[in-house]
C-alpha cells in the first residue's frame, strides 16, 4: 500500500506496453520473443483481451489461425501465449501520463500512483466510438441513445437488453453485428440508416446480420431528430443529398425506444498528444515510420490507436512488428547505455522518405520509411476513399512502379495491405517519395 511518507514508487522495464487488448498482447508477446527481458502491460480493464471479450460473434482469426474464432477465443490464445512467455501485466491500471523520454505515470488501487521508466514503449490503447455529440444530432437527450459498443457490452457481458425497438445509425460492422444480436435476444430492429451511399461494414455482415433477418439498410439516410424527454420515444430519419445534407420533405418519424450509433471509431490518442507526439490528421493516429516508431524515439504505436483496422488479424500482425521493433530499440539502448549515442530521429532527415497517398488512397501507414531499417519487406496499410470497381493498386518508389495489382472491387470498409520487398527500396535518394495510388486496370 502506498503511504504518504514514501516518494512515488518507480520501476523500470525493457518494454512497456500501454493497453492489453489485441494489439498490446501481440506486441508484448513479440517483444519477449525478440529478446526483451522484461515486458510489462498496463491494462485499465479488469482482464486482458480488450474489446475482444465482448465480441462474442465469430469471424476472428481466419488469417492468423486459419479458423473462425469468436472474440474471447481469439483473445484467449494470446493471453495464454503471453503467460507462457512470462509477460507481466497489471490490471485495473490507468496510465495518467506519458513523456517523450519513455516514462509513464500510472495509477491503480493496489500500488497507488507510480512511475515506470521503459527502454521502449508500445502504445496500444485502441480506439473509442464517436458519440452522439460528435454528430450533433438535434433533439432531446433521453436515455436510450447508445454507441453500438456500449450496447454490445450491456448485452454480451452484463446480460441486459438496452431496448426493445431499435433504430441503428451507421452501418459499421459493430452496428451490423448488434442488429443481429439484439434481434436474436428479442428486440426489433426497424432499420439501419447509413449516411453514405455505401455501407461501412463488410458484405458478409450485411447479408448475415441484416438480410438474414429482413432488417432494411437505408443508404443515404441519417437521423435528424431524437424525441422523448426521459427515454427515447422516436427518431426522425431523412434522406441526404450528395453533400450529405438532409433533404427537406423526406423526413419520416420512426417510433423506437433505442437509438444505436455505429458511426466511426477514433484512436484514443490523448496520451500520445500529451507527450508531444506528431499525429496524422487523417488517421488520427501517430505518424510512424516503417518500424511503427512515432516521432518520439523509442515510442511505438500499433493497432487501432495507430489507425482503425477492419480485422483483428491485421492488428495482431502489425502489433507483433511494433513489439519486435520496440524490443530491438530497448536492447540496443541497454547495450549502448555506457556509451550512449543520441537517439536518431525516427522520422525526418537523411535516409527517411515520406509515403504519399495519391488518387483514391487515404490513411496510409507508415508515414515515413527508412529503407535501411526495413528488414525483409515493407508493409503498407491503407484504405480507399470511395467504392471502386476494377482498379489497380500501384506503389511507386521514387517514380518507379514496384507493385501493381488489379482488384475487382475496393471499398472503404476494407483495409488494404501491400508488401514491398526491401530490395526495391534501395534506390531511394534525395527528395524521393513512396506513392500509393489507384490506377485504371
Amino acid at each position: 500500500m502506498a503511504s504518504s511518507s514514501e516518494p512515488m514508487v518507480s520501476r523500470s522495464v525493457d518494454v512497456l506496453v500501454v493497453g492489453g487488448g489485441s494489439a498490446g498482447l501481440a506486441a508484448a508477446i513479440s517483444a519477449r520473443k525478440r529478446g526483451a527481458r522484461s515486458v510489462l502491460i498496463l491494462e485499465r480493464d479488469g482482464r486482458l483481451g480488450g474489446i475482444l471479450n465482448q465480441c462474442v460473434h465469430n469471424g476472428f482469426g481466419l488469417h492468423t489461425f486459419n479458423e473462425e474464432l469468436t472474440g474471447p477465443e481469439y483473445a484467449a490464445r494470446y493471453v495464454e501465449r503471453a503467460r507462457e512467455l512470462k509477460v507481466e501485466y497489471l490490471l485495473n491500471t490507468t496510465v495518467l501520463s506519458l513523456s517523450a523520454d519513455r516514462e509513464v505515470v500510472a495509477v491503480n488501487a493496489r500500488d497507488g500512483v507510480f512511475r515506470v521508466a521503459a527502454g521502449s514503449i508500445v502504445l496500444a490503447m485502441g480506439c473509442r466510438e464517436r458519440p452522439r455529440g460528435a454528430l450533433d444530432i438535434p433533439g432531446t437527450r433521453p436515455a436510450g441513445v447508445y454507441t453500438a459498443g456500449t450496447a454490445q457490452r450491456l448485452v454480451n457481458v452484463d446480460g441486459f437488453l438496452p431496448g426493445r425497438e431499435v433504430v441503428i445509425l451507421g452501418s459499421g460492422d459493430i452496428g451490423l453485428i448488434m442488429a443481429r444480436r439484439l434481434t436474436l435476444e428479442g428486440a426489433h430492429v426497424s432499420c439501419v440508416c447509413e449516411i453514405m451511399p455505401y455501407s461501412g461494414g463488410l458484405k458478409r455482415n450485411i447479408v448475415q446480420c441484416l438480410e438474414d433477418f429482413g432488417i432494411p439498410l437505408l443508404l443515404s439516410h441519417t437521423v435528424v431528430n431524437v424525441e422523448g424527454a426521459e427515454r427515447v420515444q422516436a427518431v426522425t430519419i431523412a434522406q441526404v443529398d450528395e453533400d450529405l445534407r438532409p433533404i427537406a420533405g423526406t423526413e419520416r418519424r420512426v417510433p423506437c425506444d433505442t437509438l444505436l450509433l455505429s458511426v466511426g471509431l477514433l484512436p484514443e490518442n490523448e496520451l500520445a498528444q500529451q507527450a508531444g507526439i506528431d499525429i496524422n490528421p487523417t488517421t488520427h493516429g501517430a505518424r510512424v515510420n516503417e518500424s511503427l516508431e512515432t516521432s518520439a524515439p523509442g515510442i511505438f504505436a500499433c493497432g487501432n490507436v495507430l489507425h482503425v483496422h477492419d480485422l483483428v488479424d491485421y492488428v495482431s500482425e502489425e502489433s507483433a512488428h511494433a513489439g519486435s521493433c520496440a524490443a530491438r530499440f530497448a536492447l540496443r539502448a541497454a547495450i549502448e547505455k555506457d556509451a550512449p549515442s543520441a537517439p536518431t530521429a525516427p522520422m525526418s532527415g537523411e535516409g527517411s522518405f515520406p509515403v504519399e497517398c495519391a488518387r483514391g488512397v487515404r490513411c496510409a501507414v507508415p508515414s515515413f520509411v527508412r529503407p535501411s531499417a526495413v528488414e525483409d519487406a515493407l508493409t503498407l496499410r491503407f484504405r480507399v476513399d470511395a467504392v471502386y470497381r476494377d482498379v489497380c493498386v500501384s506503389v511507386y518508389v521514387g517514380g518507379r512502379r514496384v507493385s501493381h495489382r488489379r482488384h475487382v472491387a475496393l471499398v472503404p470498409a476494407e483495409m488494404l495491405t501491400v508488401r514491398i520487398r526491401a530490395s526495391y527500396l534501395e534506390g531511394l535518394s534525395g527528395d524521393d517519395v513512396i506513392t500509393i495510388a489507384l490506377e485504371e486496370g
Partner: protein
C-alpha cells in the same frame, strides 16, 4: 412529515431555491425544500452559460442590476467556503465595427453606474494580445476583470449539501400540485402529500408563474426562453482565455464563447421563446445559429471537436426583471421568480434577499428566528484528481483504494468519487455526472456508463442494475434481461 408545521417551504431546488435554503439555514427555523426532479439543479440551473457576469448588462435601477453586482462580489468567497469551482477569468464584449463603438461606450457607462469595478475599453492591439483568436473584425472591447466562470452544478450541489448539513430538509420527486391558504398557514400539495408552512418561497423556475398564480390574483407570466449550446472537447478549451461576448442584441447577449471550469469550450446560447416548459431539445436551426453567430466574435472555432450539444430554458418575464419579495396579497408567500440571466451570478445575493423577506414575515407572525448556534458555513467538495499531487492522491488511495480505480478515463474520475457521490445522495447517472464530472468527456460515457450503473446499484440496494436511470423518472437505461423474450421475427 404531515404533522410538522414548517417555518418555510421552498418550491424548487435550483440555484435560487438552494441559495435561499442555505441562507435560511443560518437561522434556527424548520425549513423544507420541495423538488419535482430526482436531484437539485435539474432545470434552468443545469443548462446555462456558467458565467459569473460582471454586471454591466442590466439596466441601472433594476433588481437584476443590483443583485448581479452584489452576487458577483459574493462569488469568490462563496466558492471558497463551499468548495466549488470558480475561475475569475474576466470577460470581453467585443465590438466588431467602429459604428458600434457608441454602444460599447454606453455599456461601459451602464456598468459604471451599476457599480461594476475595473471596467475599461481595450483597443485592438491590446485586445489581440489578450485574446489571440478574437475575430479579425474586432476593433475594441469592453474588459470586465470581475467576470468569471463557475461550475453551475457544483454551485447548486454545494448550496444544497451545505443547507442539508445545517438541517434543511429536501424532498425530491415532489412536484407541487397546489398551494392554498388555511387557518393562517400555507398548505402545499406535492408528490401526493401535503405539507403545512408559515411561509412559502416560490423558486420554481419556468413554473414560477403557475405557483404564483395559485395564490395571487395578479397574474404572472413566465415565457420559457430556450438557449442552445455547443460544448467542445478540452482539446479546444484554450481557444479563448476569457468569456467573449459580442455586443448585445435585442434578443439577448448574442452568442458567447467561453472556456469552462472543466477545461472545455462552450459556445451559445440562442434565444427562442417556446411554449413547452420542458422543451429542452436542440434543433438543427438553433445549433446552426450557434455556429454561425459565434464567428462574429471569435475566429476559427474548431467545431469538429464538439462533444455535446444541449439547450436550457431561461425563466423569462416580459418585464425582464427579477420578481423577488413577499406578496402583499399573500402574507408569507415570497416570490423568487423571473430568475433568468444573470440569475446564476446573482444567486448568492438572491438567497440573502429571499431569506430576509422570509425572516421578516416570520418575525411579523411572532416566529422570529435567531442564529443557528451550530451553523457550519463550510462544506467539503469532491476531490478533483486532475488537480491534486501524486502524494495527495496516494494518501487518498491509502485511505480508500477505490480512489485508485479509474472509471471515467476521459475526465479522470475514480470509483471512489462515484461511490462518494452515491453516498452523498446521487441516485442516477446524471446526478453522478454533475457531482464528479464522470461521462462529461469526449466519449460521453461510452466506456464508463455501464460501470457507473453498477456502482449506483451497489451503493443503493433499492436500485437494481436494470432499474438505474439516466436522470430519474422513466429514464431507465435498460429494457430488461437478455434471454427473456424469444428472438424477434
Amino acid at each position: 412529515m404531515e404533522d410538522v408545521i414548517w417555518d418555510c417551504v421552498i418550491v424548487g431546488a435550483g440555484a435560487s431555491g438552494c441559495a435561499a435554503a442555505r441562507e435560511l439555514s443560518r437561522t434556527d427555523g424548520r425549513y423544507l425544500v420541495l423538488e419535482a426532479a430526482d436531484d437539485v439543479g435539474c432545470g434552468t440551473s443545469k443548462a446555462n452559460s456558467a458565467i459569473v457576469h460582471a454586471g454591466f448588462d442590466a439596466h441601472p435601477g433594476t433588481l437584476m442590476a443590483r443583485l448581479n453586482v452584489e452576487g458577483n462580489a459574493l462569488f469568490p468567497g462563496l466558492a471558497q467556503e463551499l468548495d466549488f469551482a470558480f475561475m475569475p477569468v474576466g470577460s470581453l464584449v467585443v465590438c466588431t465595427c467602429e459604428d458600434q463603438r457608441p454602444a460599447l461606450e454606453a455599456l461601459l457607462e451602464r456598468g459604471r453606474s451599476n457599480g461594476v469595478p475595473g471596467l475599461r475599453v481595450v483597443e485592438k492591439d491590446e485586445l489581440r494580445r489578450m485574446e489571440p483568436n478574437v475575430s479579425d473584425a474586432a476593433t475594441c472591447a469592453l474588459w470586465a476583470p470581475t467576470a468569471g466562470i463557475c461550475d453551475p452544478f457544483g454551485l447548486v450541489i454545494a448550496l444544497f449539501e451545505n443547507a442539508r448539513q445545517n438541517g434543511v430538509g429536501f424532498s425530491f420527486g415532489s412536484r407541487v400540485e397546489s398551494v392554498e391558504r388555511e387557518g393562517g398557514l400555507w398548505l402545499v400539495h406535492a408528490g401526493g402529500g401535503v405539507v403545512r408552512s408559515r411561509c412559502v418561497v416560490n423558486a420554481a423556475g419556468v413554473y414560477a408563474d403557475q405557483i404564483h398564480n395559485m395564490v395571487s390574483p395578479h397574474r404572472m407570466v413566465i415565457v420559457p426562453r430556450r438557449g442552445e449550446y455547443e460544448l467542445l472537447d478540452t482539446s479546444a478549451g484554450s481557444h479563448v482565455r476569457h468569456t467573449v461576448f459580442t455586443l448585445p442584441t435585442k434578443m439577448g447577449k448574442g452568442v458567447l464563447v467561453t472556456p469552462t471550469v472543466h477545461g472545455n469550450l462552450l459556445v451559445g446560447p440562442t434565444a427562442d421563446d417556446v411554449d413547452d416548459r420542458e422543451g429542452t431539445q436542440t434543433t438543427a436551426a438553433g445549433l446552426g445559429a450557434v455556429r454561425c453567430r459565434s464567428a462574429l466574435g471569435v475566429r476559427d472555432i474548431p467545431f469538429r471537436e464538439v462533444i455535446a450539444s444541449f439547450s436550457g430554458l431561461r425563466a423569462h418575464r416580459p418585464e425582464h426583471d427579477f420578481a423577488i419579495g413577499e406578496l402583499p396579497e399573500a402574507p408569507g408567500f415570497v416570490d423568487c421568480a423571473g430568475i433568468e440571466s444573470p440569475g446564476l451570478t446573482a444567486c448568492p445575493a438572491i438567497g440573502r434577499m429571499v431569506a430576509s423577506e422570509v425572516l421578516r414575515a416570520l418575525a411579523r407572525m411572532g416566529r422570529a428566528r435567531g442564529p443557528r448556534p451550530d451553523f457550519q458555513p463550510r462544506r467539503r467538495g469532491y476531490v478533483n484528481l486532475n488537480c491534486i499531487s501524486p502524494e495527495e492522491w496516494n494518501e487518498l488511495i491509502a485511505r480508500d483504494p477505490s480512489y485508485g480505480n479509474i472509471v471515467c478515463r476521459c475526465c479522470l474520475v475514480s470509483e471512489g468519487q462515484i461511490r462518494e457521490a452515491c453516498r452523498r445522495g446521487a441516485r442516477s447517472v446524471d446526478a453522478v455526472k454533475r457531482r464528479t464530472g464522470a461521462t462529461m468527456g469526449r466519449c460521453q460515457g461510452g466506456f464508463c456508463c455501464p460501470r457507473i450503473m453498477q456502482i449506483i446499484s451497489q451503493e443503493h440496494p433499492d436500485i437494481p442494475f436494470a432499474m438505474v436511470t439516466k436522470k430519474g423518472g422513466a429514464s431507465r437505461y435498460l429494457a430488461g434481461n437478455t434471454k427473456e423474450v424469444a428472438p424477434h421475427g
